[in-house]
């Protein structure tokens, strides 16, 4: 690496912005091919029922409608397999690409129409007549399990995670605190809906899928298997992606159907989801019901935590399988010393939209549970909410800290952290003591105002590997070719910054290639806040290799030794600044094989950022509305490559966290009819509801697991928002433990008042 870092750690402008600001982005709907057909999905109107018949002849008679498929037309296509945490017992619950005999949620694909254009296809969809015999819908994940299919109950699995002597801890407890808590069903809901455009190229014998996102290589390999082709003859192409958040880029039925149809009809097939479809068909998340108990000593120190919870996964097990409940169980202990722990997670199916991950999956939920528990312990032993946390935080001297649990195929070892220091910094930034005084005065004047705090440990940088190839191109640009993906978070800029500093070129001269399966053989994609950590380190390794190669080759040409040379602004120069220099591109041209290097970073362990959120709220007693008056976040991510982008991630995460805490909820009636099918009834926060925040990006605990000390920044803005706001609302009401359910909608809060 060059002696000084010119780009890493600086808030340089994003490379992505100009194209997007000019309206030149290439999102899924912007991609079209000549003579393409569109695909329209006909979805189940019924939450649970037996399909007696699907009458398609009227639709087929419309001019411009080319075909209609039901399950009978695609019996050879397997159900969609698991990508993560794929327990064997869950496999019979995978989703078929078109409903097979039974529909299990409103929105389930029953048939697809192929037509000349979307207007026509929607006309045709209206003419499809499905006769469905209703079956009893299971709408609650708690209570006795129901029946999914003959010999298959709606409880496909129960997770257990435990360590320590629970009986002794509860037997010796000074007090036992029990809570029942729920988190509502909500999801990422990116502004761009899903889209998939498949075409078969006869000339190359390649099936192309455009509109890919998140995990293009995994999806390529899986789709190839599902449609029965060699993976080399299936390629995925990622364009611009209008937000990821966990939901976008997993394999859904529609992605497979456009591929199967493109192969069958030898036409480009384009599917663009509409918003109603998105809200009932794309992954939901978060819905869990927890029974948690803590054993504590007289000072409120935790002796043990036991949590039994019910995870509502909707109608099928999709690509994430047990990931969300597994993470909830594994990450619940968080930043505190918990000598004994047991989590029992019931994975339950209901007749609602199937679920997957959403930013801070499992942690948004279990942080809410743990932090509610901490507030309850504080109330029980009579200390304040900050003091109870201080007493229980894991000490810096205990790092690295082996939790004794595993998740996502890795052992949980908190790699570094000084939790108490960050708590102090966050309280100082929020001016906590002064805030308490002021809130106290206002409460005496009759206002319902209060403050709350939540602390959490995040996880990031999931391995097991990332590979990067760096190439000097003839035009003077340097390409960093990766197998990660961009979902709008600024990957191109951040990877360019790392590559630029390592190599000795300007970051604007780096072109970062991502999401193209034909450009690099393998890649892990963009999820679990992994890109900056895994791809960043792989980029550094590959760029360092390239730098060595370049200096050695140049040394020969310039008749000196490599140690006498440096690369500055893309020019190979002598360290003593004497004699001629040579541009990297020119050197590349003189070498028969060009100038490139590839390297891989492997990691068996995740890295664990941690944070503190402080919220101050005002509750309007007349309306039940919650106004966030102040919000401060401190987040330690080891090393910020681009602080402005990190702050952007945190601010965006917070807004989504606020949504799930106060507004957003996918609601259903008792018969399974979804009630939140438009943006008029699924309420996402607007500029009015999201407060100004203060963000402290701290770098006190670099990760020892990669050379730059990086940890991922994507999910800490969202993780504890429900917890912090619940704590603040309790305080505003002066009723510890009042909030037991998210979202805290005005209706629910009114009912409490």
């Amino acid at each position: 690496m060059s002696a000084k870092q010119k780009f890493i750690g600086r808030s340089v402008p994003r490379l992505e912005d100009r194209t997007l600001l000019l309206g030149q982005g290439r999102f899924a709907a912007d991609i079209s091919f000549p003579h393409q057909w569109v695909m329209r999905v006909v979805r189940s109107p019924s939450a649970h029922g037996k399909i007696k018949s699907i009458e398609v002849s009227a639709a087929l008679k419309l001019p411009g409608v080319h075909a209609v498929w039901t399950h009978a037309d695609v019996p050879h296509v397997p159900a969609i397999p698991f990508r993560l945490t794929g327990l064997k017992t869950l496999e019979p619950y995978q989703q078929p690409v078109l409903a097979k005999g039974v529909v299990r949620y409103v929105g389930e694909p029953m048939a697809v129409i192929f037509a000349d254009n979307t207007y026509l296809a929607e006309d045709a969809a209206d003419l499809i007549d499905a006769s469905i015999e209703p079956l009893q819908a299971t709408m609650l994940a708690t209570g006795q399990p129901g029946s999914f299919a003959p010999n298959l109950s709606t409880e496909p699995g129960v997770l257990q995670k435990a360590y320590g002597d629970m009986d002794a801890a509860f037997g010796n407890a000074h007090a036992i605190i029990s809570l029942e808590l729920s988190v509502g069903r909500h999801s990422g809901v990116p502004l761009e809906t899903r889209g998939a455009i498949a075409r078969y190229d006869e000339a190359r014998d390649v099936l192309e899928l455009h509109g890919a996102a998140k995990v293009p290589h995994w999806n390529r390999d899986t789709i190839a298997q599902m449609v029965g082709r060699k993976k080399e003859s299936v390629q995925l192409y990622e364009g611009h992606v209008g937000g990821g958040f966990g939901i976008r880029g997993e394999i859904y039925p529609e992605d497979v159907l456009v591929c199967v149809a493109a192969l069958k009809f030898r036409r480009a097939i384009k599917w663009i989801e509409d918003r109603r479809e998105h809200l009932i068909a794309a992954n939901h998340s978060r819905e869990q019901h927890h029974h948690v108990r803590a054993a504590v000593d007289a000072q409120g120190r935790i002796l043990a935590i036991e949590d039994e919870f019910f995870h509502d996964n909707g109608a099928y097990m999709r690509t994430h399988a047990a990931t969300v409940p597994d993470l909830a169980a594994a990450m619940l202990p968080g930043p505190y010393r918990v000598p004994a722990y047991r989590a029992i997670g019931h994975i339950r199916l209901t007749n609602k939209t199937p679920c997957g991950t959403y930013r801070a999956p499992g942690r948004y939920e279990s942080t809410f549970v743990r932090e509610r528990l901490m507030d309850a312990i504080a109330a029980k032993v009579g200390v304040d909410v900050v003091e109870i946390r201080r007493r229980n935080l894991i000490k810096k001297s205990a790092m690295p800290y082996t939790l004794g649990l595993d998740t996502l195929g890795t052992q949980i070892v908190y790699d570094s952290g000084d939790y108490a220091l960050l708590l102090d910094k966050a309280l100082k930034a929020a001016r906590w003591d002064e805030l308490q005084d002021r809130l106290c005065k206002r409460r005496r004047n009759g206002e319902k105002v209060g403050a709350g705090v939540a602390i959490f440990v995040e996880k990031s940088g999931l391995g097991p590997f990332d590979t990067v190839r760096v190439e000097v191109k003839g035009d003077g640009m340097v390409e960093a070719i990766t197998g990660v993906a961009s979902i709008g978070q600024g990957v191109e800029t951040v990877i360019a910054q790392i590559c630029a500093d390592t190599l000795g070129v300007d970051y604007t001269n780096i072109r970062v290639i991502h999401g193209q399966t034909d450009r690099i053989a393998r890649g892990m994609g963009a999820f679990a806040s992994r890109v900056t950590v895994m791809c960043g380190e792989a980029t550094r390794l590959a760029a360092a290799k390239l730098r060595d190669k370049a200096l050695n080759a140049a040394a020969e040409l310039m008749q000196t030794n490599a140690a006498a040379l440096d690369i500055v602004n893309g020019e190979i120069v002598r360290v003593d600044a004497r004699g001629p220099s040579m541009p990297l591109a020119e050197l590349a041209r003189t070498l028969p094989g060009g100038l490139s290097a590839e390297d891989t970073f492997e990691s068996k362990h995740m890295v664990y950022p941690y944070g503190v959120h402080v919220a101050a709220v005002r509750v309007d007693a007349d309306t039940g509305n919650v106004t966030i008056e102040r919000y401060a976040i401190a987040y330690d991510i080891g090393k910020a490559v681009n602080p402005k982008l990190v702050e952007g991630q945190i601010a965006g995460g917070l807004a989504q966290g606020v949504g799930g805490a106060l507004f957003e909820e996918f609601q259903y009636d008792d018969a399974g009819e979804p009630l939140s099918v438009t943006f008029a009834d699924y309420l996402m926060p607007t500029a009015r509801e999201v407060p100004e925040i203060s963000v402290l990006v701290s770098e006190d605990a670099p990760s020892p697991l990669n050379s730059l000390g990086l940890k991922g920044a994507g999910e800490g803005g969202a993780n504890p928002v429900g917890a912090a706001l619940a704590s603040a609302i309790d305080d505003a009401l002066q009723r510890p433990g009042a909030i037991i359910q998210l979202p805290v909608t005005p209706q629910r809060l009114k009912a409490l008042l």
């Binding site: 997007l20 600001l21 996402m684």
Partner: protein, 159 residues
């Protein structure tokens, strides 16, 4: 629904002669018939504002207007904001203040803000917040968008 009529859409000063059904939305016509894909469709029922364009000087949701209704009117889209290589002050401010992440909602916010500020350059902060709360963004948490629009407003007043 197959009766079609011939209309002219004037987008960013250029006429597009197109043939559309009466039910074709302006958003679809701009994107599919005129090839200007910078205008994005996020909800198709007028809530998210991603499809906002300026029609005869006022920001409108192009998903809620039929193409035929816009015939003969002056339509401005995100593609018409920059002056050659030089970004419009609103675009520049979004870049300077990190007012975009995925960029999907961005054209709608740009057109909304430009349309409103051209009409009312001295808009109060509270009214501006009201205006900006009419579009949805899922990435930024809005604060950087607000900062960007305020900075651009200052530039535009100079200008």
């Amino acid at each position: 629904m197959s009766a079609k009529s011939n209309i002219r859409l004037n987008i960013n000063g250029r006429d597009h002669a197109i043939t559309v059904e009466a039910r074709r939305t302006l958003a679809d016509a701009i994107r599919e018939d005129c090839g200007q894909t910078g205008t994005h469709i996020g909800c198709e029922h007028g809530v998210c504002g991603a499809c906002t364009v300026i029609v005869d000087g006022m920001p409108v949701r192009s998903c809620l207007m039929f193409a035929a209704q816009a015939a003969g009117k002056q339509i401005r889209t995100v593609e018409g904001l920059a002056d050659g290589d030089k970004l419009h002050p609103m675009q520049q401010a979004f870049m300077d203040h990190h007012g975009l992440q995925c960029g999907f909602c961005t054209p709608g916010f740009l057109m909304l803000a430009v349309g409103v500020l051209e009409h009312n350059p001295d808009i109060s902060d509270d009214d501006l917040l009201d205006v900006l709360s009419s579009n949805l963004c899922r990435c930024t948490g809005y604060q950087n968008i607000i900062k960007a629009v305020k900075a651009a407003a200052k530039e535009m007043r100079k200008g």
